[in-house]
């Protein structure tokens, strides 16, 4: 079974359709490599949704990145107009034309000067196309948009037959073609072009929800290939189109064993000694005024002091405001900006759509190449998107950052009274480390406490620390636990003094007791000595008595002997 599955899997990949990469950011990822090679693909959508740009970028990227020359057959715009329109994306069509990498053929159709009589075919178009393709050896062709033919030629029967032949011909020619078409009512295209282009159909769409417009792209069909079936938001930015796959590209990023310091020694210790892992994501959540931004700024400073670049995305405060505020706690961000190590990127969340923010982050990160990025506060993004959208955006953002080994710090504002373990965004599962800063209010003052809720892959401390902000900087202190209660701030001092007094008292008491004991010992000792002396005297007395008695007995017996001798001297 296992081998069967393996072989079938292998055969699928080997039989997989050859593809032509478009070079459009994200599009090649959701289509697994691009458009079907050597086949026509249909790009349809309403007015102003970016069809022509998509097609133009397909050609320009083809020439630039894949060395595949292209032909642009424009039915609606002249070559000059087209060149001007795409110049805003940094594409210089005229230069490519001079380099013989691109041919723009403007097919002008003037209905008023055309009269039809009898049968005809579109061989003229074929010949033009063929000539253009062969003149530069084109591999890519764009027809924008064929529907203009329908308004010019009345004989739809011939036209349709010829279109069928055209697509067949394009396939035989082996060029990868992009055909654009206007979206029709209740159908993909107004004239049913999708009938002819069977291999790949991409639908572009521009929707406005809550006054914010989002462009979306969907691969409607892609014969012979797996493809992402969802609607993907896409953007037309300064560098062309970027499609952002909602479901990310897969979890393949490398995990680093390197650490980056948080900027606070105690915090690093709490995190197992060295700080956060490089490329990890850190969430700092807390109520208003709990010092989240300051922690982030400290982290940025520490990073810059190592000589690495950092980027600060501010969604709430202006860079100058942040700089001023951080100066009050001894963090000089202005100097770092001046050195070129730090870059601010401040924008109101409502300034643009969620996806646009994402693209801006992409662009900014790609150009500045920071090692650390800070998003402060990420919660503000909920203003412009639903929770799900924000989460999906953050997922993709994190994937992007992790792939580039960039450590990301997010601050998240928790509403007062809300459960601290629940961020509003529900993004905590995306985060590798989660630090909670809390306000503790007691005895008429407010103090900050900090603890690490989680930190993946690190033996982190489970202790609550007092988080102190002063003009000397920020520091973590041990909290004072007394009677099972956490005491911080001046209460900690008061409690400490109380406890010290108590201890002193206890010490004195002990001393007194010791003295008493000593005295008692001395008394007892004296008594013992007296008794011992008594004993000795007594012993001596008894000894003398015994000795005297013994002597007396001896004396007595001697005397008796003597007497006996006296009496019985004559007996002998």
């Amino acid at each position: 079974m296992a081998t069967n599955a393996q072989t079938s899997k292998r055969s699928i990949t080997s039989r997989d359709l050859p593809k032509t990469p478009t070079g459009i950011t994200g599009f090649d990822e959701i289509t697994g490599g691009g458009l079907p090679k050597g086949r026509p693909a249909l790009i349809c959508g309403g007015a102003g949704c970016g069809k022509t740009l998509f097609a133009a970028e397909f050609l320009v990227r083809g020439t630039r990145q894949f060395n595949e020359p292209g032909v642009f057959v424009a039915f609606e715009e002249t070559a000059e107009e087209l060149a001007r329109n795409v110049a805003s994306l940094g594409f210089d069509l005229n230069q490519l034309i001079r380099q013989k990498k691109l041919v723009v053929d403007y097919v002008r159709i003037e209905c008023s000067e055309i009269q039809e009589t009898g049968e005809f075919d579109l061989e003229g178009l074929f010949i033009r196309l063929n000539h253009a393709i062969d003149s530069i050896g084109a591999k890519r062709v764009v027809l924008d948009t064929l529907e203009a033919l329908f308004s010019a030629l009345q004989n739809e029967l011939i036209l349709r037959a010829e279109l069928r032949r055209l697509f067949r011909w394009l396939k035989d020619k082996g060029v990868t073609a992009v055909i654009t078409a206007e979206r029709g009512q209740g159908a993909l295209t107004r004239y049913g072009l999708e009938e002819y282009v069977a291999d790949c159909v991409v639908l572009l769409d521009n929707r406005v929800v809550d006054q914010i417009s989002t462009r979306r792209l969907r691969v409607v069909k892609y014969r012979g290939s797996f493809h992402g079936a969802d609607e993907y938001p896409f953007l037309i930015g300064e560098n062309g189109i970027s499609v952002l796959p909602v479901t990310s590209l897969g979890l393949t990023h490398e995990a680093s064993n390197q650490s980056v310091s948080s900027g606070i020694l105690r915090m690093d210790t709490m995190l197992g000694g060295k700080g956060f892992y490089r490329g990890s994501s850190i969430l700092i959540s807390g109520t208003a005024g709990s010092g989240k931004s300051t922690l982030a700024a400290k982290f940025v400073e520490a990073n810059c002091n190592r000589g690495e670049r950092a980027m600060y995305f501010a969604f709430e405060e202006s860079p100058s405001q942040i700089t001023r505020n951080m100066k009050s706690v001894g963090i000089d961000l202005a100097a770092l900006v001046h050195k070129g190590l730090l870059k601010f990127h401040a924008a109101r969340p409502t300034y643009q759509g969620l996806e646009m923010h994402l693209v801006n982050v992409h662009d900014a990160v790609k150009t500045f190449k920071p090692k650390v990025v800070v998003f402060d506060p990420v919660t503000n993004l909920t203003e412009i998107g639903s929770e799900r959208e924000v989460k999906s955006m953050l997922t993709r953002l994190l994937d992007f950052l992790k792939m580039h080994q960039i450590t990301a710090m997010f601050t998240s504002l928790t509403a007062g009274g809300a459960n601290l373990d629940q961020t509003e965004l529900g993004v905590s599962s995306l985060m590798d480390s989660w630090i909670i800063v809390r306000n503790l209010e007691s005895s008429g003052e407010r103090n900050r406490a900090l603890y690490i809720l989680k930190s993946r892959g690190q033996a982190h401390s489970n202790q609550v620390r007092e988080f102190v902000l002063s003009k000397n900087g920020l520091d973590l202190l041990d909290v004072y636990v007394s009677d099972g209660e956490i005491k911080v701030g001046s209460e900690k001092l008061a409690q400490k003094t109380r406890d010290q007094e108590k201890a002193l008292l206890a010490r004195e008491e002990a001393q007194v007791r010791n003295l008493k004991l000593e005295r008692f010992r001395k008394t007892v000792k004296a008594q013992i000595e007296a008794l011992e002396a008594d004993l000795k005297a007594r012993e001596a007395e008894i000894r003398i008595e015994l000795a005297t008695q013994k002597q007396r007995t001896i004396n007595l017996s001697q005397a008796r002997e003597l007497m006996n001798r006296h009496r019985f001297v004559d007996e002998k």
């Binding site: 053929d105 009589t117 009898g118 049968e119 061989e123 033009r128």
Partner: protein, 111 residues
Amino acid sequence: MKNKKPPPARKKIRRPIEKAGKTKKLLLKLYVAGQTPRSIAALANLRQICEERVAGKYEIEIIDLLKKPQLASGDQILAVPTVVRKLPQPIRKIIGDLSNKEKLLIGLDIA
């Protein structure tokens, strides 16, 4: 229908044609792609109508796009066969095998 229409049309349009005929010729270009039955028919139809209407005052240039594909874009040719009336101005195009005389006359404006 056919019998009714031509007479007034002739009267009306003869004057400008005669005027034009004095100053300018009718310059036609016929674009074809190889010797297909359709292109042969188109040429025959065109010659016939020109001989009938503007004999001696016309010129037909035949352009085979298979031989000169680069010429297709100049006159914005899509379909073949196409007749382009280069002169007199404005440019007019008639596409198809020119089998419908009526339309051809209107298209060339020589009715």
